[in-house]
Symmetry: C2
Subunit: 339 residues, 2 copies
């Protein structure tokens, strides 16, 4: 039925000609306000039918140029290589669509330059909001957006210039540490400190988690060695290298660890397996993040799952209803295994 060779896409002008009417009538019908524009229902039906037949799709570029609001919402995200960010993106897309917004997501691989580049590109597309997820330098993104009058907010890692929604890292880490310490004591028959590994010492989440880690130790009157806080970065190899170096330096191997993310856990598990030091007794582990296979396959591990649905509800609540730029919303994470 349709023209097979369509060198150009169908426009409202094409439809207007086919229907023997004007472009504005077509426009009015196709975006649903034909009653307000007093278009007759017969003409409306005819236009709708023709649009269907011709496979018409509105040219958003033209439409958005004319409109005042773009209804585009952008998100930058560090990686797609773990369940946490994966579920953030999936939930974000769903909730945006539910609100009639068009989500644009881009992955910036923890590279501050790429973050800025991506934000700039989103501004060009006239986004109405930018959500910076786990951004290395969220305030720079906020500044850039503010200069164009675009609102932004931070997710996962907080900034100081836009509202931020994050996990309650301190409380989560303290509780996680407490549980792992109890496990550990049960296993060893005596109290013993854990090793903290993964994350960047400079980022807010890691430093809060370290505080929670230390607080839990203090509450149980266990002393932690300063050099057992290894905030070596997020990449698996970094955790692996840090553990090798530590084992080398100390001549012994940690028996209990607080691992700061699943991505660091990959490195930790790789090292555990290769090191050969754990054949008689498995280490007691805790991980600030969740992965289904780890939950299924690993016995001596406690995990917390960051509450992605609650976090994104909070994000969209701010988008729908506003919030003070300085507000910091902390969402309690969920404990996956029983205490």
């Amino acid at each position: 039925m349709n023209r097979d060779k369509q060198p150009k896409r169908t426009t409202i002008y094409d439809l207007a000609e086919l229907a023997g009417t004007s472009a504005s009538a077509v426009s009015a019908v196709l975006n649903g306000n034909w009653k307000k524009r007093r278009i007759g229902s017969q003409l409306a039906e005819k236009i709708t039918r023709l649009a269907e037949e011709q496979g018409y799709a509105v040219n958003m570029q033209a439409s958005l140029l004319r409109r005042e609001k773009s209804k585009i919402i952008g998100m930058i995200v560090p990686k797609y290589d773990n369940r946490y960010f994966g579920s953030i993106v999936e939930t974000f897309e769903n909730m945006a669509r539910q609100r009639g917004l068009f989500p644009i997501v881009t992955c910036t691989r923890r590279d501050p330059e790429l973050e800025i580049e991506a934000a700039r590109e989103m501004l060009s597309y006239q986004v109405e909001w930018v959500v910076s997820t786990g951004a290395t330098d969220p305030d720079r993104v906020t500044d850039l957006c503010a200069a164009s009058g675009v609102r932004s907010l931070n997710l996962d890692l907080p900034g100081s210039k836009a509202p931020s929604v994050i996990s309650d890292n301190f409380a989560g880490a303290r509780e996680l540490t407490r549980r792992v310490l109890l496990n550990h004591e049960r296993k060893l028959g005596h109290k013993s400190p854990l090793l903290f590994i993964g994350g960047r010492g400079s980022d807010h989440n890691t430093s809060e988690r370290v505080k929670g880690f230390l607080a839990a130790h203090a509450e149980m009157e266990i002393t932690v060695h300063q050099h057992h806080i290894l905030t070596c970065g997020y990449a698996p190899e970094k955790a692996d290298d840090a553990l090798s170096a530590l084992a080398q330096a100390e001549g012994s191997v940690p028996m209990g660890m607080f691992v700061n993310s699943t991505i660091s856990l990959e490195g930790v598990m790789g090292w555990i397996r290769r090191s050969g030091h754990y054949s008689t007794i498995a280490p007691t582990l805790g991980c600030f993040d969740w992965d289904p296979f780890v939950a299924l396959l690993c016995d001596d591990i406690q995990m917390v799952r960051q509450d992605v649905p609650a976090m994104l509800s909070s994000v969209f609540d701010i988008i729908d209803n506003g919030a003070k730029t300085t507000s910091l919303i902390e969402i309690p994470p969920v404990f996956v295994t029983s205490p």
Copy 2:
């Protein structure tokens, strides 16, 4: 320096006024063809400086409306909940950016209606290409795109109306099955067939993998029971339920399995753990897909990793150089563990 309250974004007209020149001069300078347009270098510098100062960002909607090419490339993807699709998206974004294309990715949760909806939305944004990844009904997407003169291609699951890039499912599955069967024989002391679980019987990949699975059995002269091919769908619960039902019906439990994806593997592992039937001897497993934690934590498993970089190189080769609409490119997957 900048105006703090910027009710509207800066346009080339604002810059033209500030520079005491015309909008076309500004446009020429800012998109780099000012030499062709014979704009003096002093004026060019002045405009560049002003644009910087004002935090100018081009309005893509306006720019794209005027241009002939949008440089936008769309991808639809089923889920972000596994490493395979995660790495597809990440690689896709990188390679698109390298070519100066703007990637738009959207997740359609294996829902055919959402796939079409998303494709339609992408067409509105004037995408030049649509890549359908793991689409339930790729030909419908292709038809929709073709009606607007937009090229498309299929990734992961093939279609008949656009070029398709997929894994070599038959060869991969045959080799995987062969390895698992050898493992299994070594362990049991005698030959024994495997169970096939996961995926949709109606999809091309699953049916090719079943063929490879059967071929490997045939080569080793092992008989497979027809009702041991459980193509129950991809969701973890489905695999779990199918195994429960089978165990119930047969009064016994499979000791070797070919699992069709990591997402099905989640269900399989959950069932294995809960069933209590594997306390004395662990099942021998193979998985057509890869996950780092499974590789690290599970001993008796063989995995194949689909070659995402090669697949996407192929995709962009088609985008850069074209291909016949009927072409089907099969990329050999990579074996992660040694045979």
